[in-house]
């Protein structure tokens, strides 16, 4: 039977063309433009060699700061979301016997909300004088903890990280919860017969069997964190000063200032890094699907 005629390649074209035109062509041609002085002031585009990369990797323009802010954002959100997400997943999977789906629904709610709405509300909640957080902290006598969350350059980045953790922890929890549910109950029963305590069960059963889910969660967090934009843009717009500037807000500023060559250089760096991450993940998936 001529099955291939029943699965025409034309069906792939819609998706493939959109993907090529809006992802791949801009991505690849961007790498060429990264070596030019392309900008909004002059119509001609000249080859300038590595100049854009020199700007990025010298201390003159703080791009190294933005990169390090992004890396801090990525690593701290990974730790916080994974720790809280895992704690909540264990709580809903093991400790709570009833109503667990109701809790799950509420904890997941922030994930579906528009980041813009979340960030605007938190701008009021984190207001140093009148915001809900400080009002509550002062109300219970913890005045020393009532900080200038988004105003103090030393803690602003961590405030943004806190809000992002609040927004994203439900997502991580749901994935880990699904991971926990794939672990057969018999393992725990057998361990209990052998006299294993809760901690031993976690170390020798839960943790190793949850590793695939933890890898997924980490990859998702890295992909999200490297591209973080909305929350920073709306909460602080990179400020105070440059304290919370990350790569994607810096790219948007380069775009607004018409420094297209420079912006393309940063975008291309990210394109290459994330292609490598993507390739690594796909290799991992291929190996798993081969072993099925």
């Amino acid at each position: 039977m001529k099955l291939q005629r029943q699965y025409p390649f034309a069906f792939v074209l819609g998706a493939l063309v959109l993907y090529l035109v809006f992802f791949i062509i801009p991505g690849i041609s961007g790498i060429a433009y990264a070596f030019t002085d392309w900008n909004s002031y002059h119509p001609e585009v000249n080859f300038v060699g590595l100049d854009n990369f020199k700007v990025i990797f010298s201390s003159g323009e703080r791009y190294l700061n933005y990169i390090s802010n992004t890396l801090i954002f990525v690593s701290v959100t990974i730790v916080l979301k994974t720790v809280f997400g895992l704690a909540l997943a264990l709580l809903l999977n093991d400790a709570v016997k009833r109503l667990s789906h109701v809790y799950r629904m509420m904890i997941y709610l922030p994930v579906v909300l528009p980041m813009l709405a979340v960030a605007l509300v938190f701008r009021s909640i984190l207001n140093p004088a009148t915001g809900l957080l400080n009002v509550l902290l002062r109300g219970v006598g913890l005045d020393f903890l009532a900080m200038k969350w988004l105003v103090d350059p030393k803690i602003a980045l961590f405030s943004v990280i806190g809000v992002d953790t609040w927004k994203g922890v439900g997502y991580i929890m749901v994935i880990l919860l699904a991971g926990l549910q794939t672990i057969p109950k018999e393992y725990y029963e057998a361990a209990a017969v052998d006299g294993a305590g809760a901690l031993a069960k976690f170390r020798h059963i839960t943790w190793p069997l949850l590793t695939p889910a933890l890898i997924v969660v980490t990859v998702l967090n890295v992909l999200y964190g490297l591209r973080v934009f909305d929350i920073v843009y709306v909460l602080t717009n990179g400020g105070p000063g440059y304290a919370t500037e990350v790569v994607f807000t810096a790219i948007f500023k380069a775009f607004s200032q018409g420094r297209y060559g420079l912006g393309t250089a940063i975008s291309s760096l990210l394109f290459v890094v994330m292609s490598a991450v993507g390739y690594f993940v796909i290799r991992l998936m291929e190996r798993e699907s081969a072993s099925e």
Partner: protein
């Protein structure tokens, strides 16, 4: 026995506490949307005083030009969801059924897009070249393109669970490719199409960055951009800002409550198969 009961109470207490923390901001938006400006100045927890609900919505809808923005958001979200989900389903179907070397490569090549960042600079050139910049059609197509990689990923996995014998039976009955896809495959894909569609719709509705780059004309702004702009003008009036935000998140919350099962299953089926 008593220790177990105490443990249950403790676990519920923690779960309730965590749930409250997650819901409080939405609660703040709702109560403050019905206050006067001075009452809402600190975005407090208390109910609007004296059951005199203030109706801020007509003001917000008029001043924020929300009818236009709401319509725009609907057009972008619906249009891109239909286009993005359909294209992803067609591609996933063929890529999953005919596993040639080329098709396997194309599958991984497309889902690589989940990781790839867009280059907004050269994308501007593409948008100009295709005359899509600053147009509504352009936004629909751009959103749809950004949904393709994850959509293909989700649907591809599901196509694999549909027995090939169904295709063969349909072909013997004289089905042509389009008929096979529309009459046999699409109905069987319903669960994953609902999941993908919901996630795509929510993603498009919440999208902020792409219109920020590619829509200068405020007449084409979606809700997110118009709310952001409204906030810029009425920062001091948290009652109005809250009402504005409430109108933006209302469709999201309704969809979430109605389609929860599909949204959560999509996340986990994609992530945890191992």
């Amino acid at each position: 026995m008593r220790a177990k009961k105490l443990g249950q109470i403790g676990a519920h207490a923690i779960a309730i506490f965590a749930s409250l923390i997650m819901v409080v901001p939405v609660y703040l938006i709702v109560v403050n949307a019905f206050k006067t400006r001075p009452q809402a100045s600190s975005m407090g927890l208390e109910f609007p005083a004296g059951f005199q609900l203030v109706n801020n919505f007509p003001t917000v809808i008029e001043k924020g030009k929300l009818v236009a923005s709401f319509t725009n958001s609907m057009i972008y979200a619906c249009g891109s969801t239909i286009l993005g989900t359909l294209f992803a389903a067609m591609a996933a179907f063929v890529l999953s059924r005919r596993r040639t070397r080329l098709n396997r490569f194309l599958y991984f090549f497309i889902i690589m897009g989940i990781a790839l960042p867009m280059n907004y600079f050269t994308l501007t050139k593409v948008m100009q070249f295709t005359h899509l910049i600053n147009t509504q059609v352009g936004m629909i197509i751009l959103y749809a393109a950004s949904q393709i990689p994850f959509g293909v990923f989700l649907i591809y996995g599901f196509v694999g669970t549909i027995p090939r014998e169904l295709d063969e039976a349909a072909i013997i009955d004289g089905c042509r490719p389009v008929q096979l896809f529309v009459r046999v495959i699409l109905p069987l894909l319903t669960p994953v199409l609902v999941t993908t569609g919901l996630l795509n719709f929510l993603g498009s509705w919440n999208e902020f960055l792409l219109p920020l780059y590619y829509l200068n004309n405020s007449a084409y702004w979606p809700m997110t951009l118009s709310v952001y702009n409204f906030f810029g003008q009425y920062q001091q009036s948290w009652n109005l800002v809250s009402a504005d935000i409430l109108l933006t998140i209302l469709p999201v919350i309704v969809l979430y409550l109605a389609g929860q099962r599909f949204i959560l299953s999509g996340l986990t089926s994609g992530a945890i198969k191992g």
